[in-house]
């Protein structure tokens, strides 16, 4: 197994909700968006972060890039603690980590030409000083993301491009500083299904060429299964299961993972499959349930006759198999 590029230990991100008068005796409500997660991201891997909306997956991604301030915990990047970097050293680290957004219509400044969008990172970090070199860099980045002819595309504005082309521009802009680590936040979910594959292929090809590590955030377990080496499942700000992607899909052990996998729609219709439909919806991260936070919706908890552990004790991640961990008191 590869060494860890990032080691995250007991990371917490809380947000305060303010309502009404800020009176001193009134405790503000706290959203526990990330409530103590520990995991590694291995060098050169694609780690998929999956979970339902509000589980904290985007918050983790942005916290790793220090776009959101953590409340506690360590983000170890090789030998540096990212969580406490400041000023110049943080700015220097930003070159090594990049973010690809979900919505290519939103993530590009519509007043910049493609050339300016791609040149901007280089200008910010003063990588290139000669105008001629700048052009060479930009054209190369465009070509390497499959945008031909580069000289022509560079003059365009985002509104002249299709969604898939824009996402390629966003990827080119993320790659131009030669980063090591990429957080991709639902990079294809806004795109038409027929162009998704092209974007994913591009991302995987670049990973091999440039030795990249990806944190791939998605709500789509089946997509995670085909693109990632490992999958990590989040529920209400906690990791509940992590393991090699095929194992997690076909031999997942946490009752939540099993339920999620059972309801994935498949393009090969088979009405005989049994679905585990969870009742209700994910509770609010302001009022996290006691004990195991999943127990109010857990089908196994009901089947086992409401065991006491689940009500009182928060389960820790336990090893199920080599590299496969899950947080449940009653694993299969």
């Amino acid at each position: 197994m590869n060494p860890a590029l990032l080691s995250i230990k007991d990371l917490k991100v809380y947000f305060e909700l303010r309502q009404g008068l800020p009176l001193p005796w009134r405790e503000p409500d706290v959203v526990k968006a990330i409530d103590g997660v520990t995991f590694d991201i291995l060098e050169g891997e694609v780690l998929a972060l999956v979970g339902e909306s509000g589980c904290g997956k985007t918050t983790i991604g942005k916290t790793l890039l220090r776009l959101i301030e953590p409340k506690a915990g360590i983000i170890q990047y090789r030998d540096q603690d990212l969580a406490h970097l400041k000023g110049v050293s943080l700015r220097a680290m930003r070159q090594k980590m990049q973010l690809i957004f979900q919505d290519p219509y939103e993530s590009l400044d519509s007043r910049q030409s493609v050339f300016d969008i791609l040149a901007e990172p280089l200008v910010i970090h003063q990588r290139v000083t000669q105008k001629k070199d700048l052009q060479a860099c930009v054209f190369e980045a465009l070509e390497s993301t499959g945008l031909h002819p580069a000289a022509e595309i560079a003059q365009r504005y985002p509104h002249h491009l299709s969604g898939g082309q824009r996402q390629r521009v966003a990827i080119a802009a993320a790659m131009i500083l030669e980063p090591e680590f990429i957080v991709a936040d639902e990079p294809v979910s806004m795109l038409d299904v027929s162009v998704r594959a092209g974007i994913l292929q591009l991302m995987l090809a670049l990973r091999h060429q440039k030795n990249l590590t990806y944190l791939f955030i998605t709500h789509d377990l089946s997509l995670a299964w085909v693109i990632a080496d490992r999958i990590m499942v989040l529920y209400l700000g906690k990791v509940i299961e992590i393991g090699p992607s095929d194992r997690l899909i076909h031999a997942g052990t946490h009752p939540y993972t099993q339920a999620l996998v059972s309801v994935i729609p498949s393009p090969i219709p088979d009405r005989s499959r049994e679905q585990i439909i969870l009742k209700g919806e994910t509770p609010s991260p302001v009022h996290v349930p006691e004990g195991c936070r999943f127990h109010p919706r857990c089908w196994k908890f009901q089947r086992l006759g409401s065991p006491k552990e689940c009500l009182t004790q928060e389960p820790d991640l336990r090893q199920v198999a080599e590299g496969h961990l899950a947080a449940c008191h009653f694993l299969d």
């Binding site: 594959a197 339920a259 498949s266």
Partner: protein, 323 residues
């Protein structure tokens, strides 16, 4: 079985500044009472335009070029505005994408559900109408006490249940669901799909189910129609179309979805981008992106042909033995 809806050669244009968009061009299909038809395709393929044209709800820049929409044997296109208003919701109701905006934010959900009941059935007693609202809410799994809540007090999944209760309010014959589970989490999506399926069976409803997600259609429909760039390219039973897709676009689209019960391989895409519908491509509209394209595909437009029992597709190369 009787044909409830018969769409014949529908063609619709949108006027825009840059020219007329040929959004739907020559689409025909039939729907029997009590059946569920899925319409699939990518954004801009004309599926929503087709659906909205049935109760004549297209925006004012849309123009019907030709075609007929026969509902229970009468052509809705010949109706006056007043006549079509009597059909809407009473006979044909809709479930829109569950985002916040399909419900009026300043009215309680109870008021919004009762509105079409008292409008279409003016003779109904207020108490009976109220009773029906409570039954509908119960039926979609919302406690009756919440009739006095506002849309923002519900989650996305709950709002979609409200939308469904509302669609059932006047006991219509046909429900058109436009991307009813898009933007919902998988678990909520499964809940809503099951609810829709159960209600459809219990009430023997006919339903048109529009989605960009083939997997969702595969799980919830009897038949499927696939659209590309304003054209119907393939139609047939779910089982047939998914096991033996005839049109190259259908084949490519199916391969664009990962299938956890199949091989673990990266999804396939389709090269290029969907065409501009102001100046649609000549011949087959898919030929520029098709891996089986030959000379004739760019020149003449393929017609829909029977390719199997109850399955039709529009491709010049159907009938050739596959390589």
């Amino acid at each position: 079985m009787s044909t409830l809806l018969d769409i014949q050669d529908l063609a619709i244009n949108f006027k825009t500044r840059s020219g007329d968009v040929h959004a739907v061009d020559g689409v025909s299909f039939q729907l029997e009472a009590g059946k569920v038809l899925g319409i699939a395709g990518e954004s801009g393929c004309g599926k929503t335009t087709t659906a909205l044209s049935i109760p004549r709800l297209l925006p004012s820049n849309a123009r019907l070029v030709r075609g007929h929409i026969l509902f229970d044997g009468v052509d809705l296109m010949q109706f006056s505005e007043g006549e079509i208003e009597k059909i809407r919701w009473k006979q044909i109701s809709m479930v829109f994408q569950g985002a916040m905006n399909a419900l009026n934010p300043v009215k309680t959900i109870g008021a919004q559900i009762i509105e079409p009941i008292v409008w279409h059935e003016p003779a109904i007693a207020r108490g009976d109408a109220n009773q029906r609202v409570l039954e509908l809410l119960e039926r979609v799994g919302i406690p009756a006490a919440r009739a006095r809540s506002y849309p923002h007090e519900f989650s996305g999944g709950m709002r979609q249940r409200v939308m469904i209760a509302m669609a059932l309010a006047c006991r219509p014959k046909l429900i058109i669901s436009d991307e009813p589970v898009t933007a919902l989490d998988v678990m909520i999506q499964a809940q809503i799909l099951n609810l829709l399926k159960d209600l459809q069976k219990q009430m023997n409803l006919a339903m048109i189910f529009i989605s960009h997600d083939l997997s969702v259609i595969a799980e919830s429909c009897d038949e499927i129609a696939i659209m590309y760039a304003g054209k119907l390219v393939e139609r047939g039973s779910i089982r047939k179309v998914f096991s033996q897709p005839a049109h190259p676009y259908t084949q490519a689209l199916i391969r664009s979805f990962p299938n956890i019960y199949g091989k673990q391989e990266l999804i396939h895409g389709i090269p290029g981008y969907p065409p501009n519908l102001i100046h649609p491509p000549t011949g087959c509209r898919f030929h520029e992106r098709c891996d089986r394209c030959i000379d004739i595909c760019a020149q003449s437009e393929p017609v829909l042909r029977e390719v199997g029992e109850g399955q039709i597709a529009a491709c010049h190369r159907i009938g050739e033995t596959l390589p």
